[in-house]
């Protein structure tokens, strides 16, 4: 399952290396990664896409939190959808937009005329 992880971290040299080093050392895969300073120049936001089951993602987030440079502000977004939709979503997040995350219950809905009806 693909996950987007958004991290707020200290804008210090080596911080990016630390995160990517963590992923490679523990055998997790980084599918894509972007990082840039926020409006507070001492903080950077890093957004990366990785995949794994729930237990793996939980461990990844815990290991990230252990890094001294990483603040406690970490968001994970789990996505399902077609490839194009995921790409479009990641492009949008990559530009540093702050998205408000709204949670809904698990659901699936078919487009168009296919409707679940009793």
């Amino acid at each position: 399952m693909r996950h987007i992880i958004s991290i707020l971290m200290e804008n210090e040299s080596g911080a990016l290396s630390r995160v990517s080093g963590l992923f490679s050392a523990r055998g997790y895969n980084i599918e894509s990664l972007s990082v840039a300073p926020t409006n507070d120049p001492t903080l950077s936001r890093m957004t990366l896409v990785t995949s794994g089951n729930e237990a793996v993602i939980e461990q990844i987030v815990k290991q990230l939190n252990k890094l001294i440079d990483v603040t406690s502000e970490i968001y994970t977004v789990e996505l399902t959808g077609t490839g194009e939709k995921l790409e479009a979503f990641m492009d949008a997040v990559g530009e540093g937009c702050i998205l408000e995350v709204v949670r809904s219950g698990a659901m699936g809905i078919a487009r168009g005329e296919r409707v679940l009806k009793a």
Partner: protein, 570 residues
């Protein structure tokens, strides 16, 4: 105490002042070009004692031995390039065992960094995966703050090694020195107190248990929580087992202690763990040496897990009640809650459980042939324990001798057993002992070692003479790389590839060449006499070469792929 008023000092002088502020009284190190200014500043002061080792690896291991035997931060100083790379093994060892350490590495001038300068290495890059954190100080204005942060990070939360890279020009530059009273790190805030709700849930689960076991690890020793663990365990009346790193966290001579668990743990400890219905994990991390085959681990147990590192919780084994925080605090809260609770442990069930445990104990899994004409290594450790009244600082190298030391020297106090668990580094025994002896000049410090391990840092015998360290080196000499030989006997049908040590030196002559007392002991009836003679010499290092039975193997053993209840017994 008010903040020090501003004074203009060189970087090197600031370095020395910072060490003093941090209460560092012993620094292990080895000079070199990049750190000459620092050594000059060290020469001009007397508050910090510098111990000159003979290899940078030993400087870091000695700092570890210092830290492990005191609970304080160990400090080492090495030069750039090869000095820093020689320190890597020690730093990795500290990382795996969560040892509070600050290692200062020299670095070339800031304007030469990245230029392939003389004795330049990217120490920060090389150590990144094996440190809790590291710093490169590019500006003297950051030096004092960085050093304070380094000590704070090393000693707080889950302790670990911190590397501070110091370019030579930064140590020559001048700046106003003001030691910060406190530092706040917004992205690093380790949890201290456990969540009260979790503590309540944990106590409920603990008191419902009919086959409980307390599984206590290195975190108890690192967290200074031995007293709380002892009170907690005694008030519950539950059996307790310690990991290799946790030995001494609970008195081993106490009847509630089942001894060490894991790959070479006791039969009763492993069986109790396997059959338990509630496992109370305290400052332990469910390492693979303990669990055996994870699929077969604790099939019927609910697990309470208290640890200061949230990443260790549910990493390999999913737990039911996690509590993040310092184990000292969590145990204190649990003890209070237990005393306030109207519920009590289930007496009848416990009686039956203890009966079962005593049956397992009756297997006497640590028995060995006491009538042999050859010296049994287990016997040497037992006699060492008796003659030191179980009160010595015992360091160890890695291998069979390490397992026998862990099994047969009953540790009743924390910070007495000093070994390399996570990384399992051969060569640490002697420098660990140096660090422990520097920290405790009046104490008996014994180093249990093998012929392979002792040769890896043998040059440190010279350091021992220079600083008058009266170590007692207990070499269990079986002429083999024992643990490798054991695996080759069990799993490679006796194909002893490269595990026989040919051309061993005459260790007695070698010890004497380094200025120490050497003894060779070849008969069991001479063991006591030799140990007594050695222990009586409290101003000389005594190197005892015990020629032991080379066929002895470490039992019990959980072979690879087996569950905790599938041990090979003697």
């Amino acid at each position: 105490m008010s903040e020090k008023t501003a004074v203009e000092l060189t970087g090197a002088e600031i370095f020395v002042r910072c060490l003093k502020e941090e209460g560092v009284d012993i620094l292990f190190g080895y000079p070199g070009g990049a750190v000459l200014h620092i050594y000059d500043a060290l020469y001009k002061q007397e508050d910090v004692t510098h111990v000159l080792v003979r290899h940078e690896q030993a400087a870091v291991h000695a700092a570890e031995g210092f830290a492990k035997s005191t609970g304080k931060v160990g400090t080492a100083l090495v030069t750039s390039g090869p000095g820093a790379t020689n320190a890597i093994t020690g730093i990795a060892d500290a990382y795996m065992d969560s040892v509070p350490l600050v290692v200062f590495t020299g670095q070339v001038n800031t304007n030469l960094i990245g230029n392939d300068a003389f004795q330049e290495t990217d120490s920060v890059g090389i150590t990144r995966p094996i440190v809790k954190h590291n710093f490169l100080v590019k500006d003297i204005a950051d030096l004092a703050d960085t050093i304070k942060k380094a000590f704070y990070i090393a000693s707080s939360g889950r302790p670990g090694p911190v590397v501070v890279d110091l370019p030579k020009d930064v140590t020559a530059a001048k700046a106003n020195f003001k030691y910060p009273k406190s530092i706040r790190m917004r992205s690093y805030k380790p949890t201290v107190k456990g969540h009260p709700g979790q503590i309540k849930r944990a106590l409920e689960m603990i008191l419902k248990a009919e086959k409980p076991i307390i599984y206590a690890g290195g975190g108890v020793v690192l967290g200074g929580a031995a007293e709380e663990l002892t009170t907690f365990t005694r008030e519950l009346g539950y059996p307790i087992t310690n990991t290799l790193m946790g030995l001494g966290g609970y008195p081993a001579s106490d009847g509630q202690s089942l001894g060490m668990l894991g790959m070479h743990g006791t039969y009763e400890a492993n069986m109790a763990m396997h059959h338990a219905d509630v496992v109370i994990a305290i400052g332990a991390r469910f390492d693979d040496r303990v669990t055996g085959n994870i699929e077969k681990f604790c099939p019927n147990a609910k697990i309470v897990h208290m640890d200061v590192d949230p990443a260790s919780i549910s990493k390999t084994v999913k737990v039911d009640v996690p509590i993040v925080g310092q184990v000292k605090e969590i145990l204190s809260d649990l003890i209070s809650a237990l005393r306030d609770s109207s519920k009590k442990p289930k007496d009848a069930a416990l009686k039956a459980w203890w009966k079962q445990i005593e049956e397992w104990r009756s297997m006497d899994c640590l028995k060995y042939d006491r009538d042999s004409e050859l010296i049994k290594p287990q016997y040497v450790i037992e006699r060492l324990h008796a003659l030191t009244k179980g009160d010595a600082y015992v360091t160890s190298d890695v291998g069979q001798h390490q397992m026998w030391a862990a099994q047969y020297y009953k540790f009743d106090k924390p910070n007495r057993w000093i070994n390399s668990g996570g990384l399992g580094t051969m060569g640490v025994g002697l420098p660990f002992a140096m660090g422990a002896q520097m920290a405790h000049p009046e104490a008996t410090v014994a180093c249990v070692t093998g012929e392979g391990s002792i040769q890896m840092c043998i040059q440190e015998l010279s350091t021992c003479l220079q600083y008058g360290l009266p170590l007692k080196i207990v070499l269990l000499n079986n002429r083999y790389l024992g643990m490798v030989r054991q695996w080759q006997e069990f799993f490679y049908q006796g194909r002893y590839a490269m595990s026989y040590m040919d051309a061993l030196p005459d260790f007695v002559k070698l010890a004497e060449a380094y200025g120490h007392v050497g003894m060779r002991i070849e008969r069991p009836q001479d063991v006591d006499g030799a140990l007594k003679e050695a222990l009586a010499m409290n101003d000389r290092l005594v190197f005892m070469d015990f020629i032991t039975d080379d066929t002895e193997n470490v039992y019990p053993m959980i072979p690879a792929g087996a569950g905790q209840n599938e041990m090979i017994l003697v």
